[in-house]
Symmetry: C2
Subunit: 215 residues, 2 copies
DNA sequence: GTCTATAGTCGGATAGAC
DNA sequence: GTCTATCCGACTATAGAC
């Protein structure tokens, strides 16, 4: 179930922590649960990470570096190969997140950890994430602004927030949609990506006039 | 800051718990913090609620009953007064949530509690919410399907999930958008509702053909 | 680098006086 | 219905042997 062999103590702790954080949240997970699952001694976590808070940060860093890298690479390719097109840009934002969710390396748990992080708002963790990965979101904002020039800056940010929310929510298997028993995980995720890109593209390109009344 | 006078012990506990749950999550909030803020004795919470888990449920019930009622009433009015129009239906879904967020009775904290609930996924709380309030979502699904007949059932559910995610995320003040210092809270929320309704209406009405390529 | 043992704190819950 | 006092388990973190 969890990583047990051939990994270093440090990696086993990170893997076990990731799974447990996804299941029970940060505050809801004790270091004792982590070390029990990782099959290491309770003292090891403080030796390797210093504190629980730092362990949380390191759990994030390991995956976020990879996901951000993939997003930016795919964004660059989209801008070169499909200049001016919105959907490839959105795909660059959405697909790496979904790919991670079906990664056999345990990234699947991480995507739910991200959802946790957004909910556990007041933490130093949010500052850590904003400092370390805020530039990724800004790059996407620029790219999307290039595809939808009519969109004002403020409206762009609102709609980006809506996209992020929809992505987070869908990734974490909240909500109504459950994967049908027959459908493989990969196909389900691909479907999710397609649907979300379509939905968000339409939403981002919606009329920008400021009216409160009917369509 | 918190409710202190003229409310019953039970209500003071509920109010304090709501604020703290919003800030620190369920697992991250101790009953001692709750009773300190409510200015009641530590034993009172067990006398009135029996256990921490039950207190969590009651915090939800108090607000969800009200919010669900408003949503359904506004939905009914929308269907009568604007039959076939999508945006009034979406307004019925979005606006009561946002109205609650700016309610002086402390509902503002609750909206972040909802976000917590979605993140703390494995809890008995999720079953409680699904059992008690699932019918509300089903009513909205029906109404939206009536406005966008081309939408298949599965696609409808996907898009409803995206809407829920965007709403939850926006409500909780995650993301890029922060309320400008000058703008009153109420105006900020109204703006959020308008933007989200516009975004979601376009997303829900997006082309439903199943293609992965360009627009 | 990994262990045992423990310090020191805080958690939820309850018993019983008023 | 509200209080004081307390039980007892779980927690993070660390000291110190190996």
């Amino acid at each position: 179930m969890s990583a047990t062999a051939q990994f270093s103590t440090k990696d086993r702790i990170l893997g076990a922590a990731e799974e447990l954080f996804a299941q029970h949240g940060f505050a809801g997970t004790s270091l004792r649960q982590v070390t029990t699952r990782a099959d290491v001694n309770i003292a090891a976590v403080n030796y390797h990470f210093g504190s629980k808070e730092n362990l949380v940060n390191e759990v994030f860093r390991r995956r976020m570096d990879e996901m951000s890298g993939r997003r930016l690479a795919q964004l660059k390719a989209a801008l070169q190969q499909h200049p001016g097109e919105l959907e490839p840009v959105l795909a660059a934002f959405v697909e790496p997140a979904l790919a991670m969710a079906q990664d056999r390396h345990g990234g699947g748990a991480f995507i739910r950890v991200i959802a946790r992080a957004y909910a556990e708002k007041n933490d130093s963790l949010r500052k850590f994430l904003s400092d370390q990965y805020g530039h990724v979101l800004r790059d996407f904002a620029k790219a999307i602004a290039g595809c939808v020039p009519a969109l004002g800056k403020e409206q762009l940010y609102w709609r980006l927030d809506f996209l992020s929310g929809a992505l987070t929510y869908a990734m974490a298997d909240f909500g109504l949609i459950k994967r049908p028993a027959g459908l493989p995980e990969a196909a389900h995720r691909a479907r999710a990506a397609r649907e979300l890109i379509r939905f968000a593209a339409a939403g981002l390109q919606a009329d920008t006039t400021d009216s409160h009344s009917k369509a």
